[in-house]
């Protein structure tokens, strides 16, 4: 087992890793920028090294500075957390070169899943369903129609140089292909100067459902069931839950197997998440694989009663997995509390927290690095806390979340607590009737 782990991260995840290390008897080293001198992770670690100024590029993203800190503290392993260098293949490689264990997958595994085209090819070989589409750019309308016949309508024509929803056209039947082809090409040319078009099957009312997996160094990969992360704003997750209200036993079995196949195809080591889009017919398609611990790992922890950071450190130290898959035994929901003003387009709201009371009680968990007197700086992401509730049923869980949110007092900065409260009262949310487009139609009532 490792003697000393350096946590190459900050905020609540750094604290999360430090806590588990303490329980495991492993010494901890925190790194911090000058802006984080008062952060809790610095106080809770056994040792702390200031590595740079506030800017991430010169601190949490600086491989030389982090390696220098590893060197002067004699750490034998590095935990990268999430974000920052967690999926940086170069960082993983450098750690290995210096004989430091990078707690996560190898640089090769990171690379295989980091490139969308390579990932898709790997998944096809592994018999994991991917979003069907054209392998290359389409030359003309005729090719588009041939492809569409294979893939099956509805399809979406997409600009290869595209973004922001531009140069995209959904086509529902063959007769409409030509007109939409011309429109998409024209828009792409105008917006990006490149009118190259490819196509994909259009997933109707997609839900974002991801499967947590974990692999050891001996070839075993297991799954820990799903998390539904469909409640997103501009592709940022706001609420996650397990089990998914849309899940069935059969679907979980199929998706779980697919996720394990994905992991085995690259001999995956560590914790990882295979993300899928699930359409209204309960057909699922591989989207991407995240080769790191995720923000919402807490939701899975609550429903299967396992410490995922501990499991992560154990497999990194060479322990063997039992080989068992895990199914949710309870219901859990997580609300991400951000320092943002939901009544002003979720504008970031850094500043000093003057008073802070987090909710407590049966079935309530709060993962946070902030406290009264703490200054939320503008340099890093706006998440200040994760509120996770668990209960026997989804309905009880929502009730508990509502009660917990009502108790959550943060003064000095605006937070997204009021948004989550309104969401808990939303009829569709309560019915479990939502997909990734849910927040587009969600109207926030004025305070």
């Amino acid at each position: 087992m490792f003697e000393k782990i350096l946590i190459a991260n900050r905020g609540e995840i750094a604290l999360r890793v430090i806590r588990t290390c303490k329980e495991m008897g492993i010494k901890t080293v925190a790194i911090y920028s000058t802006a984080d001198a008062d952060s809790l992770h610095v106080r809770f670690a056994d040792e702390a090294v200031c590595i740079g100024p506030a800017s991430s590029a010169e601190s949490y993203l600086s491989i030389p500075k982090i390696m220098a800190a590893v060197e002067i503290t004699n750490a034998d392993a590095v935990h990268p957390g999430y974000g920052f260098l967690a999926e940086n293949a170069e960082f993983a490689e450098i750690c290995t070169e210096y004989g430091i264990k990078f707690i996560g997958p190898s640089a090769n595994m990171i690379r295989k899943m980091g490139d969308k085209i390579t990932a898709k090819e790997t998944m096809i070989k592994a018999n994991v369903p991917v979003i069907p589409g054209s392998a290359n750019l389409l030359k003309n309308v005729a090719e588009a129609i041939t492809n569409a016949k294979e893939v099956g309508y509805p399809i979406i024509l997409k600009a290869t140089a595209g973004g922001g929803g531009k140069g995209m056209r959904i086509v529902w039947k063959e007769e409409d292909v030509e007109e939409n082809w011309n429109k998409a090409k024209a828009e792409a040319k105008a917006s990006f100067g490149n009118d190259g078009i490819y196509m994909e099957k259009f997933i109707e009312e997609p839900r974002h459902i991801e499967i947590q997996v974990i692999g050891d160094q001996h070839g075993t990969v297991v799954h820990l069931s799903e998390r539904d992360c469909s409640i997103q704003r501009r592709h940022q997750k706001l609420v996650e839950e397990s089990p998914s209200p849309f899940m069935t036993r059969n679907l979980r079995k199929a998706m779980g197997e697919a996720a394990i196949n994905a992991g085995k195809a690259i001999k995956y080591e560590g914790v990882g998440t295979v993300e899928f889009l699930v359409d209204k017919y309960k057909k699922f398609y591989f989207m991407e694989m995240n080769t790191r611990i995720q923000v919402e790992h807490t939701v899975t922890e609550e429903v299967i009663d396992r410490d995922l950071i501990k499991e992560q450190i154990n497999v990194a130290a060479g322990h063997k997995l039992e080989g068992k898959n895990y199914i949710p035994q309870l219901h859990a929901i997580e609300c991400r509390i951000n320092a943002e003003d939901p009544f002003n387009d979720f504008r970031p709201n850094p500043g000093t927290i003057t008073s802070f009371h987090s909710p407590k009680g049966h079935g309530v968990r709060v993962d946070t690095h902030v406290y009264a007197g703490y200054t939320v700086s503008p340099y890093y992401d706006s998440m200040i806390a994760k509120l996770i509730c668990k209960a026997q049923t989804r309905e009880e869980c929502i009730n508990k979340m509502r009660r917990a949110l009502q108790e959550f007092i943060v003064e000095g900065i605006k937070t997204t607590v009021p948004f989550h409260l309104q969401l808990m009262d939303n009829e569709k949310f309560n019915k479990g009737d939502f997909n990734t487009g849910f927040l587009n139609d969600f109207e926030l009532k004025e305070d």
Partner: protein, 188 residues
Amino acid sequence: MKVTESKLKLPLVTIWNVVNNQNLENMTFKEIQELIKLVGKSNLSEFKITTEKVDISIRTDSYNKGGKVMMAPQMMAPAALSSAPTSPAPVAPTVAPAAKSEGEETENNFIQVKSPIVGTFYRSSSPDKPPYKKVGDKVAVGEVVCIVEAMKLFNEIESEVAGTIVQAVVEDASPIEYDQVLFLVDPS
């Protein structure tokens, strides 16, 4: 600019918070009005703030009545947010310390020479050579004062100030972090 309404007398923390969040050089007239209102509501008698391009000075009624209550934080461009005072709990009015990235003035007017990187501190270029600088030596801008080694790379640290070395704060071959004080220099 967000103005935090409160039924209580506004604590200094709120004003500091607002000032910290505001790009002073681009304040609109309305925002300046809000700042004046904030200061007026507080128990300050004078509020001054100076950056490279902007100078704001606000005096309230209580200034002339005596019993001065002052706050004069010195700030640089927005980068100063990283070196904001580290005890933000509401306290009695106090002068916030000036924060600079290199060469910070101490009470005796000595300048602190700080490390820009993480690593191991060495006073000489190799074990058999004499130290670059001893206490009492003069140092010029750009002169090498020590080595900081990281990952087998030896980085020469140059002084940003001129003066006399009055103290070598760190022991030879010690691990040091970013911004750690290495030497004290008397600039006079």
